[in-house]
Amino acid sequence: MSRGARLWLYALAGLVALSVVRTVTGADDLTSAGTMRAAIIAAIPIALAGLGGLWSERAGVVNIGLEGMMILGTLGAGYYTYYQGPWVGLLGAMMFGAIGGVLHALATVVFTVDHIVSGVAVNIIAAGVAGFLAEVFFADLEGGGPTQSPSLERPMSITVPGISDWSADLSAQRWFLVSDLAGLINALTAGLSIFTVLALLALAGTGWLLWHSAFGLRLRSCGESPSSAETLGVNVYRYKFLAVTMSGVFAGFAGCYLAVVASSGYANGQTGGRGYIGLAAMIFGNWRPGGLLTGSLLFGFTEGARLRQGGESVHALLLLIGVALLALAAWQLYRARRAVALLAATVGAGALWWYLATEAVPDSFTEMTPYVATLLVLALFSQRLRMPAADGQPYRRGEAG
């Protein structure tokens, strides 16, 4: 089966599972159009940050500075959208993110500083710059303040006439599977932000560029074996520099999406670690665009469910997680992988017990959901992942053996 077909199959299986859980638990908001919309809005910034990570890590540079570049993106979006509208805001966010990218590239590619060290420094600088400039930019504006911008103009959104109404009706019927699918269709056809479409295009475009063009092959060769690339005449420095800068551009886009689509303006601390979650989504997705989108949707969905009927929906998800983990445990036991089976069984049983013993999950715990999900997913699947062979290693021309 091709990779694409398998992704569709996974998506369908996920929807069926959610539908079963919704029917069993009666947590009707779990797959409503509103939750699906919230899930998409939560998933896109994570996917864009992950896309930034993909560019950088495919060229061999680990990028935990994504968080900082995203922060710069929110600031750029806040400033330029206020004065020039969302499209210039997007460009401004990308430019601000790119500045962070250039900084990281300068440190890691030109000066071969440790990638994690440089990433941490970029995050510190970005948070400081954003905190300082936010006060300069927004403190004196009407409706703004030292830590937040006034509300900003939103980019246009697309509503497909006919399908949107029809799917909204269907979604409200609560039929098995049909209504859940209708909820998803409604989220994609009613009030879909143009930036969401743009983000998905960027993801598909990156997939094509990196895996189906000579440019992409050269860029990825820098992440797998820079010395080999060098012998074939690839200017490794140039490719790495470009890749890390593009990484900043996409992280900036992620920040812009957060500021103008997911909320109504810039605010300090708005990114809330989504850059890191994007990185985790990319790792979960095995350094591939389709996989990282799947990971982002997973995290986005838990976030979306939390934001709506948090206590009830996350509680229902516990049932799904519990059953899925126990099934995984049985499968792994059959494959004689006892450690994974034990881990999955323990956490799965815990989740089931929690589901049965309580009525709703407290808010503090729903806040943790995306982070716990990240840890769990990485713990269970990390063995199947393969990162670019030279990812994170310093490279200097002529020094590699």
């Binding site: 935990i64 071969t112 420094a121 600088i125 400081g128 990485l378």
Partner: protein
């Protein structure tokens, strides 16, 4: 290279970094329409006696935080989770101390152990994920930071007492408080007694690193994992021990304030120390003395920046830019200096070879 030249090259890197940081800060200020002159006047003015005390307290706390990060860094383990470990540990310590299960100073000593154990346990999750499941500690500790914040908030509501809008743990009995000592004679504000923990931890770190087998293995693994394995180091065990130790030191960060100032865990807990500690460790090159200097610099900058908003109408956030740029430029500067040294040594070798060849040509 002569000794003098070597020393000058060594001092060049940090000096260069501070010049760059000063320049970048000034440029940002000018670009934002603020006056760099005002900024530097406030920052470089002589601290008041009260400021000395605040700087000393901040330095001690930042030193512990930097030390916690540095233990991992020396082994190329990136414990980004000092912040989470510090929060979990301080909360656990405050709850334990508030119970007053033991009398007086015993309670204090036991609490410090509880906090260290809690910090180590929180770091231990990342350690287990790393050695058993191969999850990078960078990602797992970042996630654990976020989880720690929510978890502690939840538990605080469960076990804490409501006080107005917020919750706080039971106050520690007065017999377990640790008295502060005066730094400047006649000044009412004093240095936390447990600030001395920083000195103890620093000495312990230096001894551990330079005088024990564990420290040797740790440094060896950091320099070259394959060489360490070849010499019989059990790297997986080292990863677990190092992260546990790092978490245990992170558990100490909150102690001076807990026993000397707040006497309970509440919403006033200082946030972000764990992250600043990473910067302090990087600036101090993960060296016990280096971290001390870095902690002092950061403590000084934080304290001196606090009146900026009032006296110069500049946002105090600017100091975070200065600190971040210092960290990034110091690591870059060290790399530049290292390259310069390598080149200088190569040139030296080449010169000597030439001289010897010249001598051989003459002698027969």
């Amino acid at each position: 290279m002569t000794t003098v030249r070597r020393l000058m090259v060594g001092a060049a890197a940090p000096a260069l970094a501070f010049v760059v940081a000063a320049a970048v800060t000034s440029v940002v200020l000018v670009a934002a329409g603020d006056s760099p002159a005002d900024f530097w006047r406030v920052l470089l003015s002589a601290p008041d006696p009260r400021d000395y005390v605040a700087i000393a307290n901040a330095t001690a706390v930042l030193y512990l935080s930097g030390l916690a990060a540095a233990i991992g860094f020396r082994m190329n383990l990136f414990n980004i989770g000092v912040e989470g470990q510090y929060r979990v540990a301080t909360f656990a310590g405050a709850v334990f101390a508030g119970q007053a299960l033991l009398p007086g100073a015993l309670n204090t000593a036991a609490t410090i152990l509880v906090a260290m154990a809690a910090g180590a346990a929180w770091a231990g999750i990342a350690a287990l994920l790393r050695v058993l499941r191969g999850v990078s500690e960078v990602i797992s500790t970042i996630m654990l930071n976020a989880i720690a914040v929510s978890l502690v908030a939840f538990l605080l509501q469960k076990v804490g007492r409501r006080q107005g809008e917020t919750f706080r743990t039971d106050t520690i009995p007065e017999s377990s408080w640790v008295p502060s000592f005066p730094l400047v004679p006649g000044e009412s504000s004093q240095v936390y007694g447990l600030a001395l923990l920083a000195v103890v931890a620093g000495v312990g770190f230096a001894v551990l690193l330079n005088r024990t087998r564990f420290g040797f293995d740790l440094r060896a693994t950091g320099h070259s994992e394959s060489a360490a394995v070849a010499s019989g180091v059990n790297v997986r065990r080292m990863v677990v021990y190092t992260l546990l130790l790092s978490g245990a030191v992170a558990g100490l960060i909150g102690m001076p304030e807990l026993f000397g100032g707040s006497h309970a865990y509440g919403s006033t807990i200082q946030t972000g120390i764990g992250f600043t500690g990473i910067a302090v460790a990087l600036l101090g090159r993960n060296h016990p003395w280096g971290i001390a200097v870095a902690a002092l610099i950061f403590g000084y900058l934080n304290q001196q920046a606090s009146p900026l908003g009032v006296t110069a109408d500049i946002s105090t956030e600017i100091i975070a830019v200065t600190q971040g740029v210092v960290v990034l430029s110091v690591v870059i500067a060290y790399e530049v200096v290292r390259r310069y040294r390598v080149r200088a040594e190569q040139a030296e070798v080449a010169r000597q070879l030439r001289r010897e060849r010249g001598a051989q040509a003459v002698s027969p």
